[in-house]
């Protein structure tokens, strides 16, 4: 019966994919792809009821939310950034120690008068009152950024959505400050930016998640257990 098929989502590229594949290896789960490395579909040897989908890490969260993926591997940051409706449909089963990164607020390093979010709050009002503009914040994480800034008193800003190379935005006139995910802070420093003293928004790491829409039958539980080593 096709309904017994369990879909597992794995990131299709990058560091995260590599680390996740190691988990499969460690648990002696042999991944098979009929059409070689670039195949976006696959299976696990000797587990006929499992289908492997290679997806963008953000999409894994979305698919868990709509139930088309039953079990998936992705970043905690991406889960927290997703809409509440999606988050409500996902359980985090396990947090792995790898893929650690922090979402932070970064400002141009020469802004030596700005050390904390409270300073930023003043600057945001200066932009509004004196320059008649909004302080622009470039980010790939609009939801987390908005929540964080607002909770810290920064209400006067405008989000600019970015798909990549966010660190360059303040110096190309596309935004004044940014929020971005970083593991060592190197890229941020290399781009003449500085993280605010209290500018940590969220700590993230790789997670195993399950969809609440997944059929919680014994076959599914067995599969989840296979990753527990």
């Amino acid at each position: 019966m096709i309904k017994n098929l369990i879909n597992i989502g794995i990131p299709s590229k990058g560091r995260l994919r590599k680390d996740i594949l190691k988990i499969f290896k460690k648990n002696k789960l042999h991944l098979v792809s009929e059409r070689g490395e670039r195949d976006l579909l696959g299976s696990i040897k000797n587990l006929p009821n499992v289908k492997i989908l290679y997806l963008h890490a953000r999409e894994i969260v979305e698919r868990l939310g709509d139930g088309s993926v039953d079990l998936g591997f992705s970043g905690y940051d991406l889960l927290k950034e997703s809409e509440v409706n999606i988050q409500n449909k996902i359980n985090v089963v396990k947090k792995y120690g790898f893929g650690r990164a922090t979402l932070v607020v970064a400002i141009p390093d020469p802004w030596i008068d700005v050390q904390t979010v409270a300073d930023l709050e003043e600057i945001a009002f200066e932009f509004k009152d004196k320059k008649k503009k909004r302080l622009r914040v470039a980010t790939k994480y609009p939801n987390l950024t908005r929540e964080f800034l607002f909770s810290k008193g920064v209400t006067q800003f405008k989000l600019v959505s970015s798909l990549g190379a966010t660190e360059a935005y303040p110096f190309t006139g596309s935004s004044e400050i940014i929020t971005d995910i970083t593991s060592t802070g190197e890229t941020i420093r290399a781009n003449n930016l500085r993280v605010l003293k209290d500018g940590e928004i969220l700590k993230s790491e790789a997670c195993m998640m399950t969809s609440r829409l997944a059929l919680k039958n014994n076959a599914f539980k067995r599969i989840v257990k296979l990753f527990s080593k």
């Binding site: 030596i112 008068d113 909004r134 908005r146 989000l159």
Partner: protein, 350 residues
């Protein structure tokens, strides 16, 4: 929603006070909202894009639609207007309805502020007389008194502005008071490191722009910030005064007296006249009239008098009318001049 009959009666009451009925668009540009209230307002608005990619939204309240109308039609004279219709807001509270039926009335562009405040309250009271209720309260506050008090306190200017800006956000405001008490906003070790950098940057071209701010601007603020002289004991005292002020709550006819005692006790050079308040009767219709110093915190855009009417009907407490003065709203939306505005809205969903 209440019966059509009732809303018609209310509209007639407002009209009888000399207000002119206007129609307002249901859809407005989302940019206006973000421009006024910043990014957080996005959480409440229903927005979508038109064929050119402009972001539009359903009006989250009628006041903003009305102020936009005044601004976009380039109106200059005094207007007394009223309107009725639905406003649309998202809410995390399941009990709240997404659609809110409102009747609103406003006086825009008039310099006779004290009388206009009274007129809006009187119109609110007249429309209220159409409703059945056993008792209620009319609560009056004034954000202006708070801002005047802050100006008189012995704290750096940055702190004054900060406290005034966040009066309307109670939780964050309390955080600010805690920080004021502990003096933790300037880190001395970092200041030392940056002082060297400051001296170096003084030699740079002062007009160079770094992400929207000139070097001159950055250095000026840096130097102001490290010069902020503030002792912890002083911060604690100021915080105590503010907290005491916010606790003032009394029948309206005692408002001036209570405030003046408070100012005198704390050696603050301010005096309030009872005429400052739009009402001095403690009882109007079936309402107890009260003054509250902390009232007015719910909405960012109020700049002066604020009021609300809660009534008891069928053993339920219901907030039916909210209003106040918002002199900066139209300029926040893009007017070059400040336009005085005062108004109120009746909530018909309960």
């Amino acid at each position: 929603m209440k019966s059509k009959n009732l809303s018609e009666k209310i509209l007639r009451s407002v009209k009888s006070k000399g207000f002119k009925y206007i129609d307002l668009p249901s859809v407005i540009e989302a940019n206006h909202i973000v421009q006024r209230s910043g990014e957080n307002f996005r959480k409440f608005i229903f927005s979508f894009e038109d064929q050119n990619g402009n972001e539009l939204c359903l009006r989250p309240d009628l006041t903003i639609a009305s102020c936009l109308r005044y601004l976009e039609n380039n109106l200059k004279s005094k207007e007394k207007i009223f309107y009725s219709g639905q406003a649309y807001r998202k809410s995390n509270n399941k009990k709240d309805s997404i659609i809110r039926d409102q009747v609103g009335f406003e006086i825009i562009g008039s310099k006779d502020e004290k009388n206009d405040d009274k007129e809006i309250i009187n119109t609110a009271l007249k429309s209220l007389s159409n409703l059945k209720y056993s008792k209620g309260t009319l609560k009056i506050g004034n954000v202006e008194i708070f801002n005047l008090l802050i100006l008189k306190l012995d704290i750096p200017r940055r702190w004054k502005l900060r406290l005034s800006r966040h009066f309307w956000r109670e939780e964050y405001f309390n955080d600010l008071l805690k920080r004021l008490e502990s003096n933790s906003d300037v880190d001395p070790t970092i200041v030392e490191v940056d002082k060297k950098r400051y001296l170096k940057m003084l030699k740079d071209n002062q007009q160079t722009i770094v992400a929207g701010r000139s070097i001159e601007e950055i250095l000026k603020r840096f130097s102001n910030k490290i010069k902020d002289p503030r002792r912890t004991s002083r911060g604690k005292n100021v915080s105590k005064i503010i907290k005491e002020f916010l606790k003032i709550n009394c029948p309206i006819n005692k408002a001036a007296e209570k405030l003046n005692i408070f100012f005198k006790k704390n050696k603050i050079n301010l005096v309030v006249d009872q005429k400052y308040f739009p009402i001095s009767n403690n009882k109007i219709q079936k309402l107890n009239v009260e003054f509250s110093a902390s009232f007015g915190r719910q909405l960012e855009y109020y700049t002066g008098m604020v009021f609300k009417i809660d009534i008891k009907s069928k053993s339920k407490n219901i907030n039916v009318i909210n209003g106040g003065r918002y002199d900066k709203l139209i300029s926040d939306l893009g007017s070059t001049k400040q336009v005085p505005a005062v108004g109120a809205a009746l909530n018909l969903n309960y």
